[in-house]
């Protein structure tokens, strides 16, 4: 079950990306946070306890929504626009490095 539910932009242009290797489709105008949470229930697992997190403030303040790209780059999901071909990693075991 996704965490977020899309009410508009249902027919906007498709933006393909992957979550933990699984192909997914976002929509033009999505943030990374929106695109991921319209498919799954978490953005990351914490460094200490491994608890699932999925953002909190959605305005770039709480820093709870940092995700990693497969290549290693980290980005803040709520303030980053989804781009075609992003390979997003949300689980610790799948992270490189």
């Amino acid at each position: 079950m996704p965490l977020l539910h899309r009410l508009v932009r249902q027919d906007s242009a498709v933006v393909p990306f992957t979550i933990d290797g699984v192909p997914c489709n976002g929509r033009a105008g999505d943030t990374v946070l929106t695109a991921v949470l319209c498919h799954v229930e978490q953005l990351r697992e914490t460094e200490f306890s491994g608890a699932a997190r999925a953002g909190f403030c959605q305005m770039g303040a709480c820093q709870d929504c940092w995700v990693q790209l497969a290549a290693g780059e980290r980005l803040r999901a709520c303030t980053t626009e989804l781009a075609e071909g992003m390979h997003i990693v949300t689980q610790r075991g799948l992270r490189h490095g």
Binding site: L3, L7, L43, A54, F56, Q58, A61, Q63, D64
Partner: protein
Amino acid sequence: MAERAPPLIVGAGPAGIRAAATLAAAGLRPVVVDEGHACGGQIYRQPLAQDGRDDRARYGSEAGKAALLHRDFAALGPDVDYRPNTLLWNLRDGTADVLRDGVNHRVGYDGLILATGATDRVLPIPGWTLPGVFTLGGAQIALKAQGCAIGRRVVFAGSGPLLYLVAWQYMKAGVEVAAVLDAAPLSAKLNLLRALPLAPDIVLRGLRMVAALGLAGTRVQLGVSSLRIEGKDKVSRIVYQSGGREHRIACDGVAYGLNLRSETQAADLAGCAFRFDPRDRAHLPLREASGRSSVAGVYLAGDGARIAGADAAEAAGERAALALLEDRGLPHDAARAAALELRLAKIDRLRGALEAAFPFPAHWAAEIADDALLCRCEEISAGEARRAIGDYVLTEMNRLKAITRIGMGRCQGRMCAAAAAELLAVQTQRDIGAVGRLRAQAPIKPIPLDVSLSVDERQHDPAH
């Protein structure tokens, strides 16, 4: 003689926009740095792409103000040096470090207007870190800017005008609002009678929203306490106390917040003196009615200086810009400045009544469950903080941070410092104003270590 550097405005919400327009009208060309992708701030945030909704659908009763701000700022065009998607992370001696697209720019400025805005204020409750729990502001942004709901069946909990506003917006968008759980008792709402003559339209609109929620079958519960959010890997229910009984409501989304807190890190880096503000229960940068701070050439406007709302932010942004013009020896409209100060004083009276009607539940601080995470970033529980306060006889916030790492994580205390101060005050039986405040440190938000390029935009070396 070298030409004077341009003024710098930090933030492009209602305060930053009005400040920029005022400076541009006087012939200055301010640099405006904005973390957003387009102007508007959080309250009038614009979507990344058009989504078929008009301003009325997006901003409701505030659509006219939003449209005017967006249009006026766009009309400034090349008269302002606007930099969207840009993070200001350091300020020192007339130089700002701003990061855009992985490139750091060192910008020299002469005159600084800080319009840094606010975020939701929270006290930790068990389960507040679960996926599906967002701040009230975050839930509103999901809906307004991204057109998404944070759940199919959502509970709104906490305090503040946003509590009812966002619940109503979700209901209007067709989402099931399972309950509105208000920390404040009915007696607090009597303060709305004080607010009524000051702003009848705002108060009546709020009451209509509550009535509409009630008509739609939403449970509106006042005076709740002992909130707890439960679920395995995501929200599945919220539990609370009311009328001496425990209640539970199944839900898949929770929006939570206890009014707002000012973003003051940039003012701290700019060297502004701070003072404890009893109404906001926070240390805030000192500010004159004109917007002048304790530092010459540094001005404060909007919710980043003290919580007052978007209308006040517009007036304060313009007022601060007029002060900058006056201090720079440029013509400025003194009558307009006086009128803006009168307007701000009136809004402040309204704000006092609203804060009393939607009070921060300070009494919750004594009851924060030991197992509730106080610091989301470093995963420090309230119990761990209490033990450290006792073991190390801590009485001051920066010592608490040094010992426990609270406030040392990625958010630098944005989400936990207000709560940690409340907890420290209760635990040491001190006044909340006496436990100090976390000092801001550059970079005030995370920046990548591989910022290799740095563009020096300063017109001359400041020779420090």
